[in-house]
Subunit: 392 residues, 2 copies
């Protein structure tokens, strides 16, 4: 596995950081998750909890070890220093400056571990006027411009359902860590890297940003329609609706052939894409008159035969029942002791050689405290003393 | 830089693949983009084109070299074989099997370069019933369940504006390549990896998937409201609206203090989150009565003082004028010869040590053909012959 033998000290909670370290653990790293004694990561109690186990927590903390440690005590900080010295990577998602206030500023970290790869995930970045603001996925979606591109033309800007800014920041952070580990492997040097929720969302603005930079014209929302191409979008069928994306003129010609509406080709209102954009509602009505005559399955088969990109809009239930999704093994069952198998999303990157082995269940709070402390040279009486003082 | 000295052969076009190789180039790799003679990547002609340059193309193809090569000719295939033998990484976003049909199946690739890291980006993955279907961002959004989570409760499922599935597949692919390069550095072995648009989108379903797996209950759309917490969402102010995310009870208490509405604390309709969810419209009306009395700037300052996550919903113009966004240098100007500086999005990962140097402009079509062919041992007459035959 790519990260076999790499130890990651994980000072993260909630989702952006834990997603980053989940990826590192999936890639073979030993991830030691530090949690507050008695409490732990708040996600342990979030989402649907089944027989005392949050399946949301189980997903994002698989393959990790859990060590409890009170970082507000002098003894806890001493253990943390030992852990940093024995780790290759440190990931945190504290607000900027928190680690420094705890006594672990850049110089101390460097002294403890000169080749440390240190990754910080924040809401707004390590500097700038908003650096100390509390952050949240919804706020990053709003302030990045991402929301301004979602929703119907006449509707308010629309948030995305999944916590997209946490997830994209998490994968960016994992990429940065792995790139830094490669550089470390080749040069012996560590590095410090930063990823923010806001920056990660701005990074997704894509051609909307390019077009704005080139033209100065602010893009508007177009709902499920395409800003530049018609027809395109959701079309009603006899039993639902189908997403159809004939993104250029050649595809449009195939689309009207598949519909059996070749008369559209010569129709003065629909001859060119510009005319089709102007007469979009009339064209959509003509197309839907046709698509309503058969069910979605019929159209999906037929349009694909003609090479027109299309597909159903699936609910989560339909997604995981879909034979193709099942064939790709995008979800997996991980044995969780008495909880039995827990279903979760797999990493969407498939390696032929770098075999991942069997995934291990997310740890109970503090499950690995003793083992990890013993590795640091602590004796059983040391550990008992720390436990009785509430440090671990 | 992490990927200094790594050569990436780039057989991708449009956006998922070019985003992956842009990241690899940003991290220091030498990326050789293969394009069809005379045509090139279709994105060269897409988006806003200014003085003959697509700023969309310029963004996603910075720091790369362009080599024209007709892969349908025997001579073109010969050059391709030489290029593969001299590269560490091969990235393609052809449909499954296309590279094999060209004569570059897995065994041939292995023979040409035993330690090759080979990454394939497809719409639906390398196998399964839909593997040969034409793919498109919109279709991946629809079929992954992602769209089913976006939009208002009573509205149809809503697509996201940016091409999110291409972008997330691109960053997943870059992560997989860098991880494989790290494994190669440590073991000497190459690998083959796959990333799909559909799988990358399913990978974003997050706690919605966990909750569905744990409960069997299909999540519904909640627009800008939170599925489990109220108040939460967009609130009208004197001059617009503000996104406010008090995600737990402690934050709610701070929120009503910041609003100056402490009477809500004892109000029988709003005492608990469960009651606030039931009486969401009435609560929102009471809050907006208050928030409409001041402008958005007032509320953003005040709510942040109280520690309540909040922010404005910004348009692209406002985003790039925002002093904080500017302080984080999320956009940059890259000199493009006679075109002058071209503004584009920077990589949202910041390294302290791994300095990126000055970014180089996206190449003109075939700009580096001669240089790269000479490195392969071709003479000037060889190159002239290939050019006159239309191979390059």
């Amino acid at each position: 596995m790519p990260l076999t033998g790499i130890r990651v000290l994980d000072l993260t909670r909630i989702i952006s950081g834990p997603y980053c370290t989940m990826i590192l653990a999936d890639l073979g790293a030993e991830v030691i998750k530090i949690e507050a004694p008695g409490e732990g990561d708040p996600v342990r109690h979030q989402g649907v909890v089944r027989d005392g186990l949050s399946w949301y927590f189980a997903n994002y903390n698989r393959n990790k070890k859990s060590v409890t440690l009170d970082l507000y005590t002098a003894q806890g900080k001493e253990v943390l220093a030992d852990l940093i010295a024995s780790s290759h990577v440190l990931v945190d998602n504290y607000r900027p400056g928190v680690l420094q206030k705890m006594g672990f500023g850049d110089e101390r970290l460097k002294a403890l571990r000169p080749d440390l790869v240190r990754c910080s995930i924040t809401g707004f970045g390590p500097s700038g006027p908003y650096r100390d603001r509390p952050a949240f996925d919804f706020i990053a979606q709003a302030m990045s411009g991402f929301m301004s591109l979602n929703g119907g033309e006449d509707d308010p800007p629309m948030r995305v359902g999944p916590p997209i800014s946490d997830l994209v920041a998490g994968v960016n952070a994992a990429l940065g860590v792995v790139a830094s580990l490669l550089r470390r492997e080749r040069t012996g040097q560590g590095d410090t890297l930063d990823v923010s929720l806001l920056g990660s969302m701005v990074g997704l603005l894509s051609f909307h940003a390019s077009n704005f930079f080139a033209s100065g014209s602010v893009p508007s929302r177009t709902g499920n329609d395409h800003g530049l191409v018609a027809p395109y979008g959701l079309f009603a069928t006899a039993d639902g609706q189908v997403a159809i994306a004939p993104s250029n003129d050649a595809m449009y010609q195939k689309f009207i052939d598949a519909l059996g509406l070749p008369m559209l080709r010569e129709h003065p209102d629909f001859e060119t894409n510009a005319k089709r954009m102007r007469n979009r509602p009339a064209l959509k009505a003509l197309i839907e008159e046709r698509t309503r005559q058969h069910d979605s399955a019929y159209w999906i088969t037929r349009l694909n035969q003609y090479g027109v990109p299309c597909g159903p809009v699936l609910s989560l239930k339909e997604v995981f029942e879909d034979p193709h999704v099942q064939s790709q093994q995008l979800a997996m069952d991980v044995p969780h002791g008495a909880h039995g198998p827990v279903r979760m999303l797999d990493l969407p990157i498939r390696f032929e050689q770098a075999c991942r082995g069997s995934p291990r269940a997310a740890p109970a709070l503090g499950a690995d405290t003793e083992e990890v402390l013993k590795q640091l040279g602590k004796t059983v009486p040391d550990i008992e003393a720390l436990r009785s003082q509430g440090v671990i």
